[in-house]
């Protein structure tokens, strides 16, 4: 009795626990208690998310009426395969980073601000989970702003004074992106009179060809592309990732942009409908051009960076290009590739940024020239870096290969051979920038602070290695990730309209 009742409440707990936890952290304002609390809650999150995903896979989508107000009148939380998968991803990343956070945060953030750091971390987690779980367009905006505002604070807590400017730039661009999204939602609300995703999907059919709906599509596309850092709209990302504390970078890089992708997918496939977006309108060529530009331009810029963190940030922009490429293909296989890459990119970027966080703990920064010979002094850390780096390149046997394989298959299926070559070509650029780091870290004699560096404590090594190992494990056996992603792609194509 109790257990079924608890099972019904999972969707609300998923978001409300971290929110309440954030308030508690700030109320208690003791850094160790805050860390323990945050760890407990962030470990409860994947449990809840996995239980919901299992329920979705066996029984079907879960719908939760907030406050007992039935949808479409009240706010509905709805979990299906697509966002169930995303919830697992976000919550797992949020949990893995927490044990790592204790030492890293202690080293990088002023004592009296550490409790607030955890408060913001939980707020950000709650915002991202909320964005993923909600089935209400305006509620999604509110959660987007909760996660963004806490993210600005997380970035501004970085040691470097440039972190402040980065946070400010992100605030301006992020707010513009969110506001554009709200404008789009407002136009849809004016045309359909509802904010519930499912309800909107049904009512939009009647007004599909009207100008406000087209404008809404454009506003939402641009707004979400700003949030997910699609190539020409990515300017906020490199500075933000570089300036933020290591823990924040690892968390934001592996989750924040992914949720924006999810929201875009939700609008494209579930609300507007794939046929309307991709067949009636020229969304495919636009996204395709920008994705390919991201894959190449951002990778080339990454090669010339002197700061490894910034290099990986540019690489993130490039990787987002692969994900949007999957969306642009608009075929089940291409979309599967995009969704799998969503998951895989989170794993490898999480591992890479966490490895860099270990380096920053020992040598105080991530400049490439200061990292000379670091591989000989911190072999375990840098080995994880290399594995995740190989995965970023897409070497067979790693997760990067799986997603690129699906993307290439999707491109060939669509008859675009050249696109498959471009995917391989851009991977070669990743060889260059990852290779640079490997060369400096392993094949040069250690100098300066790098000469005294040692591997970080286990609390940091183990989380890093869990992610690095996951890069291999899910690369060798892609059954789970690709299987769920394929189901998610099918669910997206099936749409919300029953």
């Amino acid at each position: 009795m109790i257990s079924t009742q608890l099972l019904d409440q999972l969707p609300a707990l998923q978001v409300c626990l971290p929110l309440a936890g954030a308030a508690l952290c700030a109320l208690i304002d003791r850094r160790y208690i805050a860390w323990v609390l945050t760890t407990l809650i962030s470990f409860a999150m994947p449990v809840i998310a996995v239980m919901m995903l299992i329920q979705v896979m066996t029984v079907g989508p879960i719908s939760y009426a907030f406050g007992g107000w039935e949808p479409p009148f009240g706010i509905e939380y709805r979990v299906d395969v697509v966002n169930g998968f995303l919830l697992v991803l976000i919550s797992v990343m949020g949990a893995i980073i927490m044990p790592y956070a204790l030492r890293s945060v202690a080293a990088e953030i002023a004592r009296n601000k550490q409790a607030w750091f955890y408060c913001m971390y939980l707020l950000c987690l709650a915002g991202l989970l909320g964005m993923a779980i909600t089935a209400d367009a305006f509620n999604a905006f509110v959660f987007m702003e909760i996660s963004s505002l806490s993210m600005y604070v997380l970035i501004a807590l970085g040691r470097d004074k440039r972190a402040l400017v980065a946070a400010y730039q992100y605030l301006i661009l992020g707010t513009i992106g969110a506001t554009l999204y709200v404008i789009g939602v407002g136009l849809l609300f004016a045309m359909t009179g509802t904010l519930n995703f499912g309800d909107m999907a049904e009512r939009i059919v009647a007004v599909e060809q009207s100008r406000p709906v087209l404008a809404a599509l454009a506003f939402i596309t641009v707004g979400m592309c700003l949030k997910l850092a699609l190539f020409p709209l990515h300017v906020w990302l490199p500075n933000a990732y570089t300036g933020a504390p290591s823990v924040a970078t690892a968390f934001i890089a592996s989750t924040a942009t992914k949720v924006a992708v999810y929201l875009l997918l939700r609008f494209y496939f579930s609300i507007f409908g794939a046929a309307f977006v991709f067949e009636d309108l020229p969304v495919t060529p636009i996204l395709l051009v920008m994705s390919v530009a991201a894959m190449f331009a951002a990778s080339i810029v990454a090669i010339f960076q002197g700061n490894v963190k910034r290099m990986l940030a540019y690489s993130s922009v490039a990787q987002m290009g692969y994900i949007t490429l999957g969306i642009a293909l608009a075929t089940p296989i291409g979309l599967t590739g995009g969704i799998v890459h969503l998951f895989n990119h989170a794993l490898m970027k999480g591992a890479l940024f966490m490895a860099l966080g270990c380096v920053a703990l020992r040598i105080g920064g991530c400049r490439l020239d200061a990292m000379a010979g670091i591989g000989r002094r911190m072999p375990i850390t840098m080995a994880a870096f290399v594995i995740a780096g190989l995965s970023l390149i897409g070497v067979p046997g790693t997760v990067g290969f799986v997603s690129k394989w699906y993307l290439a298959l999707g491109a060939i299926e669509a008859g675009w051979w050249w696109l498959a070559f471009l995917i391989v070509g851009s991977s070669l650029l990743a060889v260059v920038y990852i290779g640079r780091v490997v060369e400096v870290a392993w094949f040069r004699a250690p100098t300066g602070t790098a000469a005294e560096a040692t591997d970080p404590p286990l609390s940091m090594l183990i989380p890093t290695w869990i992610l690095a190992a996951a890069c291999i494990a899910f690369g060798l056996d892609a059954g789970f990730t690709a299987g769920v992603a394929a189901e998610a792609a099918d669910a997206l194509f099936a749409g919300l309209r029953q």
């Binding site: 609300a12 508690l24 406050g67 007992g68």
Partner: protein, 138 residues
């Protein structure tokens, strides 16, 4: 300092009324326009007015920075607590009907608790923002 004696006296006279009006908006908000947001802003504005007239030091002695921060968190926790209470009593999150033996009474109770949480948080946030900017020069 002596020139603003009129302002000081007027503010002193007004402050109780501002606070009472704030609480009126709060508790009447359940059956008429009003509620926690508006009440919170009114109460917060009262405190800020006091700080502007009598100086930050005096205001911080009345309500310290720490107290304001705690107030914000307590408000959120009261809101969340009401939600969790609804959950524990067998309803969904923020379901007021189950809070009392009678659904209508439950709705009354729920909305008042929620709005009280909002009042704390909004008033606290307004004052906290004011303190954060005004107290910066020191």
């Amino acid at each position: 300092m002596r020139l603003d004696v009129v302002l000081r006296v007027v503010v002193k006279l007004l402050l109780p009324f501002i606070l009472v009006f704030g609480f009126f908006v709060q508790f009447h908000g359940e059956i008429s326009p009003g509620g926690g947001f508006q009440a919170g802003v009114i109460v917060g504005a009262g405190l800020i007015l006091y700080a502007i007239m009598f100086g930050l030091d005096l205001a911080m002695r009345v309500v310290s920075v720490r107290a304001v921060e705690k107030l914000v968190c307590l408000g959120v926790l009261l809101y969340m607590g009401t939600g969790f209470a609804g959950m524990l009593l067998g309803g969904n999150f923020l379901d007021y009907n189950v809070l009392s033996y009678d659904p209508i009474k439950g709705q009354h109770l729920g909305i008042i608790l929620i709005e009280l949480g909002v009042l704390f948080t909004v008033a606290g946030t307004m004052v906290a923002i004011f303190y954060a900017f005004a107290g910066r020069e020191k």
